[in-house]
Symmetry: C2
Subunit: 495 residues, 2 copies
């Protein structure tokens, strides 16, 4: 290849395994450096624009995405195998997130400006006047997820919250959907220009592999990383970020098994409803959600057997769906092989389909004692499966919950009286998960002020915060104080 | 040594270098494990007590410390070489911090409880009700600082904020002041018992070295680390924490050079005042503050020469003070040797004294171009010295500020009109420091709601927060959401 001839790559159709139209230029190291320098140059002017101006940019990005939703959805369908309605929903979610952050920053309340009045006459030393607020960290690298080509991708939640905070963003597109990523990035760049944002406020890195993404995390201009994806990917970025001369925060959302605890009273009262709700949740989107319920705790005995048998019926009557790409499909297959090797028993399996990347719903069973003895039985399997763990006593549930890894969610199916009888379990779930759910299911993460999409390690790299909802903006800020400044010399929000 | 005979160590008097009375038992690995298990067992009941009960514990700890201040101050004087008035001030600061956090948690406002109302009729999917708040992380390890035997030590700011948040604390005493640490720990433990806190809510680790401190960070029960000390120490803890199967946050405050930028107008108007203020700041407490101004930027020319000469006079008429311990004293000496080797020119030196750990004020000078070419010239030297960097143009100041490492503080000595003319400098300082000060000095960190004692790496390991002031409580919390719970089943603050 001559230097004049840029490397390119193509997307694959996960239904057929064949190449889709369109070649995408691989970002070079020189382009990456230029993008990072431009982001750094943009940082100060962008952060000083103020929330109202940045809100215009976010609003315009949302409007651009809505105006071009048909083309974006069409391309995303081809690249991800996800159905049209789901992707239209993702357009709505993505625009909703951009607008939520635009509203949040339209006034300065989110900056938590504080003012400690001074007292020059205080003894033994004068008390200084101190004011502080949150300011943006600097340019942020955002790694798009495979399973949300819009809402957790180029213009997804991490990008929206970082841009809202005042941080330029360099998005690393997921290699499965380069066309969708390019379309969305161009809409954001157009919005930045039209609303008068500094050049370099947004950039896109494309490549079929990992090399440029790693180089991006090592660029000194980058001050934080947002990531949604696998544990291996997230941990690799954590190690890279910690190895820098200046370590930076990594917000990696790495998924979890999202256990569902079915108590006897709920099962007796609503067995059929639980079977249908759980089946819908673990097969939704071909099981490709980080909140997919991969483990379900079910009582031993006849009622638990009946739930298992009903779930087996539903699974047997299901069929394979198209998965996001061949790698995800292969990992689902090897995850099931490991689950069987660890002692899981396959109860039922749906009908196969002939997609290049096909994911067939499967139902598994094991005794909870086996899971307590071998944690590999409860590793995440990304795809449409759940493992029923059969338990005998409430104490076993508490033991399981206390020993489980950090989770994005934990769900209780319980009658109200049962919840009150299981305070130790509920306390333990709140300690081990970012979100505790009663009598609903973990899939579906509502965007709002109270939502927490986070959780103790290894659900995320940094369980103190959330990647969904308005709290997420705080991840891209730090505190700064001004001491003894006359108001007219202070940044506007501190006057 | 027979197993029945516990190892012990003694404190040294930094004035004489001789052993002080009292032998302190070295914590064993078995004791450490028992302490960590007890802290874990205490976590849930302690966190569920509610803020008002925890506030009682903090108030009683403060009252105990005040009631025994004379004995604590006497021992701290002997162990640290710090004067009585300073240590009495530290008692006040320490009690003030405990009471500030007690007031903060007396009601639940700090928990940032949020409530997103549900809508079962929403299309295409019902909107769930979600509530969230902050909850404590779990047991916290707090490493006491050498230079604040009370306010940043066993019952200092990290301990107060972690206990307030609902986290049990295991304090690792600084080996320089084991007697002070034991006295204070016993007062906290007595307060815990008297106010009915769970056993294990507070523990103390003592040793002459580092081994048990490292083991503490590796204990799986520990969920966060607070540290104030050297960069080498802080970075060692960061590596340890990152190497755990479950990485945990480390809040290490590692110090900085706290540059003071003297502009020409301020120098012309207030030269004598600046000389006296700067001299007082860099020699305060024998220069043993993390906010010590180690670098001062001074214009070339006659006015700058006059400032240097006046500072030289003040330095020449000063004399050595007792430093905290021999290791700090030796590091001060080797730091000055490195400063000279890197091209610093010693301008003046105070009178020597015959203490075992003596720190003599020194004044240094170099050209700012030398510092721009060799960053070793502006490494932190912990002790009573400052390096005058002579500059010619405002552009040199911006270049220096943009290139400097992250700082706890940056100070501007400037007339108001000059500040307005130096917006690029001010913007850069706010980007590189946690606190920007106008026409005061960096030493003295006011405790309050707005204070930020933090800053970009390497000033701290995690520049997003602060170790002083009410914001500090957030460091020991994470967000958790409850979805679809009837109010009566929720934790009290979310009802």
């Amino acid at each position: 290849m001559s230097p004049a001839q840029a490397a390119a790559f193509r997307a694959l159709d996960p239904r057929t395994g064949t190449e889709l139209p369109g070649a995408f230029t691989v970002t070079t190291a020189a382009e990456l450096e230029a993008m990072a320098r431009a982001a750094k140059a943009a940082f100060l002017p962008y952060s000083k624009l103020g929330g109202a101006r940045r809100a215009e940019f976010l609003e315009r990005s949302a409007a651009n995405l809505e105006a071009h939703a048909a083309a974006v959805v069409e391309r995303a369908m081809a690249e991800s195998g996800l159905p049209e309605a789901r992707l239209q929903g993702e357009v709505g979610r993505t625009c909703g997130q951009l607008r939520m952050f635009a509203r949040l920053i339209a006034d300065d309340a989110w900056l938590d400006a504080r003012f400690d009045v001074g007292d020059p006459a205080r003894q033994p030393a004068p008390k200084p006047e101190v004011r502080s607020f949150k300011r943006p960290l600097g340019p942020v690298a955002v790694f798009g997820a495979s399973n949300f080509p819009l809402a957790f991708s180029v213009a997804g939640g991490d990008t929206a919250s970082a841009l809202a905070a005042g941080c330029p963003v360099i998005a690393k597109a997921h290699p499965s959907h380069p066309g969708t990523s390019r379309l969305v990035a161009d809409l954001v760049i157009e919005a930045a220009r039209a609303s008068g944002m500094p050049e370099g406020v947004f950039g896109l890195v494309q490549e079929p592999g990992f090399e440029m993404g790693q180089a991006l995390v090592l660029r000194p201009e980058i001050k934080a990383v947002g990531f949604t994806g696998s544990r291996a990917g997230g941990e690799a970025l954590m190690r890279l970020a910690a190895s820098r001369p200046e370590p930076i925060p990594v917000y990696a959302e790495m998924g979890s098994v999202n256990p569902v605890f079915v108590l006897a009273g709920a099962l007796a009262t609503r067995g059929e409803e639980i079977a249908r709700g759980l089946f819908a949740s673990f097969t939704l989107g071909v099981g490709q959600f980080c909140t997919n319920p991969g483990v379900t705790l079910v009582p031993e005995g006849a009622a638990g057997d009946a739930l298992r048998d009903r779930l087996a019926e539903l699974t047997l009557s299901s069929e394979a769906g198209v998965m996001l790409n061949r790698a995800v499909c292969e990992r689902y297959g090897s995850g099931l092989t490991e689950l069987a090797a660890a002692g899981g028993r396959q109860v039922a399996r749906g009908a196969e389909r002939d997609w290049a990347a096909a994911g067939t719903p499967t139902l598994w069973e094991a005794d909870i004692r086996a899971a307590l003895a071998n944690e590999r039985l409860v590793s995440e399997v990304f795809g449409p499966s759940t493992l029923l763990l059969r338990y005998r006593t409430p104490a076993e549930l508490v033991e399981f919950a206390a020993g489980m890894e950090g989770q994005l969610t934990a769900t209780l199916q319980a009658e109200p009286a049962e919840v009150a009888e299981h305070t130790a379990l509920l306390d333990t779930l709140a300690e081990r998960a970012g979100r505790v759910i009663l009598n609903q299911y973990p899939t579906g993460v509502e965007v709002g002020h109270a939502m927490v999409h986070g959780g103790p390690y290894p659900a995320t790299s940094d369980g103190r915060s959330t990647s969904v909802g308005t709290h997420a903006i705080d991840r891209f800020t730090r505190l700064v104080a001004y001491q003894n400044f006359p108001p007219e010399l202070l940044p506007a929000p501190l006057r």
